[in-house]
Amino acid sequence: MKWHRISAMFLRHIYLYRHSLTRLVEIFYWPLLDLLVWGFVSLYITRLSGNGEATPNFLGIFLGALILWDILFRSQQGISVSFLEEVWARNFLNLFVSPLTIGEYLVSLMLVAVFKVVVVFLISALLAWVLYSFNLFMIGIYLIPFILSLVILGWAIGILTTGLILRFGQQAEVLAWGVAFLFQPISAVFYPVSVLPKFLQKLALVIPASYVFEGMRAIVFGRTFPADKLLKAFGLNVIYLGLALVFFFRMFKQVRARGLLAKMGE
């Protein structure tokens, strides 16, 4: 073993962090998110036990939340990772010199996302039933709007992320794995919105996923979930999807003017 070779390789990775803000941010990003999510989960459990309430169906809360969260995550990945696959394969240019329009391309990615979601959902629901006797279908008819809402939000985040990767190139590709998780603490996936500090509660009101997870918990607890909240979630989803599309098309126009589209494909 030669120290000069080890230090050269160490230096190689330090140089990488020096030139890539996204990689630098990533070092702090995941621990911070974990700390937030699991901190709020602990707070939720502590409050429940402190109130002397009957132990809720934690299995239903956590497994249901996990499966539904994966729907959002896979929907987002169906767009941004599928896009990255073309960049990694250097096939991007071949696609965009074909008659394929950018609108057609986005619709195809949305369909890929739906395909991934269906497969992941069915496998997860089956495993949860076999391994833990947890029946996700107990949510009933609400499951359809919940899934739909998460898929649309996943599309919006995926399109936004893809727009950023398009603009900032492959150095921004870590966003494909990280951006969705930015919404996790304020989406109240594993705990109710009421556990969050007041300012984050206000933020949660504009995150469509928070309504889905609140709804899921309400149903698992045997309560009803107001349909108007679901409508609000859909309204927000439509706005975010629209904004993400506007952002993506602007980025596309910008990279075309700067000649970056061609560089991304080679």
Partner: protein
């Protein structure tokens, strides 16, 4: 047969500036059916930027492009243009996990090719890819990948073909066969080809006309013989070296 009526591709005063760097300076040229037009020039001369602008991948700063009488910067016209045009470059690849045949099937779908299966089999045969047709793209050699790219470029039987150093990684035998195929397409199908290459012998052999680019400008144009005589060179390679070293006619 040249004339205003049958021009397939027309470029007028095309310029591209990236920040303060002028990559292409007021370039004008035409491309006619059954013609091979070579773009010649040192690295950074603006050849690839011109091709990318023709494909609508990069928007020009100023100037006009007309392909089949349409504007590639207008999305609806671009779609129609790209149905009748294609492109191949050594520097692009195909999805690694798909087989060669699957890749071509995807592109046949993108170009709306009728009787796709027969067309794909013909191209696989034509580009000597039969042995690797059902192998994943990631297992192909660079020469096989280049041939796959060329097969993709011919999938829609284009009227205009843009080729960016298409033979760069081919061995002399396959490169020669590729040139023969291009010449055949030019003669039998009246395909118009815009061609870039750093192989001067190839450019001399294949091109009807040449545009010499330097620092984004066309500094000379004509047949290979005309350029050799104008620059008082022994051959095109000699001319290229003179141009790259800033010697003007």
């Amino acid at each position: 047969m040249k004339g205003k009526d049958n021009v397939l591709l027309q470029v007028r005063n095309l310029s591209k500036t990236f920040n303060s760097f002028q990559a292409v300076k007021s370039v004008s040229f035409e491309l006619y059916p059954g013609e091979i037009l070579g773009l010649l020039g040192p690295n950074g001369a603006g050849k690839t930027t011109i091709i990318h602008m023709l494909l609508g991948l990069t928007s020009p700063t100023s100037g006009e492009i007309r392909i089949f009488g349409m504007n590639p910067l207008k999305s609806r016209e671009r779609e129609k243009i790209l149905n009748r045009m294609n492109f191949s470059s050594t520097y692009v690849a195909m999805p690694y996990s798909l087989t060669l045949r699957e890749s071509l099937t995807v592109f046949a779908g993108l170009y709306g090719v009728k009787e796709a299966r027969a067309r794909i089999s013909y191209l696989i045969e034509q580009f000597d890819l039969k042995d690797v047709a059902d192998r994943p793209v990631r297992t192909l050699s660079s020469g096989q990948m280049t041939r796959l790219n060329l097969a993709k470029a011919f999938i829609n039987q284009p009227e205009v073909m843009l080729l960016d150093e298409p033979t760069a990684s081919l061995d002399p035998d396959i490169a020669d066969r590729t040139r023969s195929y291009l010449l055949e397409m030019k003669q039998t199908k009246k395909m118009a080809i815009l061609y870039t290459s750093h192989n001067m012998q190839e450019m001399e052999e294949i091109s009807d006309r040449l545009l010499f680019l330097h620092h984004g400008e066309i500094i000379a144009r004509g047949t290979p013989e005309e350029l050799v005589s104008r620059f008082k060179g022994q051959d095109l390679e000699d001319v290229f070296l003179k141009v790259a070293r800033e010697v003007r006619p």
